[in-house]
Symmetry: C2
Subunit: 144 residues, 2 copies
């Protein structure tokens, strides 16, 4: 199987979101923010890593903290590094839970996702299941 | 298990979308539109059923027809009923594929979704896993 063919069922093409009630939703963006905060220990560093504004990061965080009982992230002000941020125990649990859920969803739907993406790439062409070159090549073929 | 408790792991709280490349995405809205067209045989009737404007429905459809090779819906103009719409064979295949994928994702993540929603409803409260009345009651409790 070539890297290009493998690319057709890249699990990152499956996006999983959880409706939390009201307008609140937990999905890949919020999970990435939690992960970045956990890794970098700061909200502004997490925002930079995600290429979003500090304000956007703060608003994502605020939505999360409001949607759950108890904050998912605790921030400390001041100090030599200008304050920091860390996941609470609840924040860590939520993140682990979401990542597990996302992995299981991707695993269980792998074949159907590949089938759907194949339908997209080649349409309904009986007897012509593989068409080399029918998909756009990407430079980062080895990342699949 | 009460209807309210069951509600906490309602699979419809899991939203699954497929990135098709570029900005194109296939998710619950487009799937519902295809289903409504299949059921009602008309784009305007489908739009009414979904409580969206005809223009919105048309744009969803246009995005889909452009994202896939070949249209997912064929429309016929004129006639006594003012024209109709029907899924193409490709449209039917895409819809079945998405619904299968959605069902498998929901099945495989059922327990993790319940755990996440429980964390949302009750936070981290060791020894207090069930708190009757801690979730907002809904009028349509029997629909879960």
């Amino acid at each position: 199987m070539s890297p290009v063919t493998k690319k057709a069922s890249n699990p990152s093409q499956l996006v999983v979101r959880i409706k939390l009630g009201g307008d609140a939703v937990f999905g890949p963006g919020k999970a990435e923010l939690l992960e970045s905060i956990d890794r970098l220990g700061s909200l502004s560093a997490a925002a930079r890593a995600m290429r979003i504004s500090y304000r956007q990061a703060w608003m994502l965080l605020d939505t999360m903290n409001q949607a759950f009982r108890g904050p998912l992230v605790e921030t400390s002000q001041g100090g030599p590094g200008g304050g920091g941020a860390a996941l609470t125990r609840l924040g860590k649990r939520i993140l682990v839970c979401y990542r597990t859920l996302q992995r299981k969803a991707a695993e269980s739907t792998h074949d159907d996702l590949a089938a759907l993406l194949r339908l997209r790439a080649t349409g309904l062409q009986p007897g012509l299941r593989k068409r080399p070159g029918s998909q756009r090549l990407r430079d980062h073929g080895s990342s699949g």
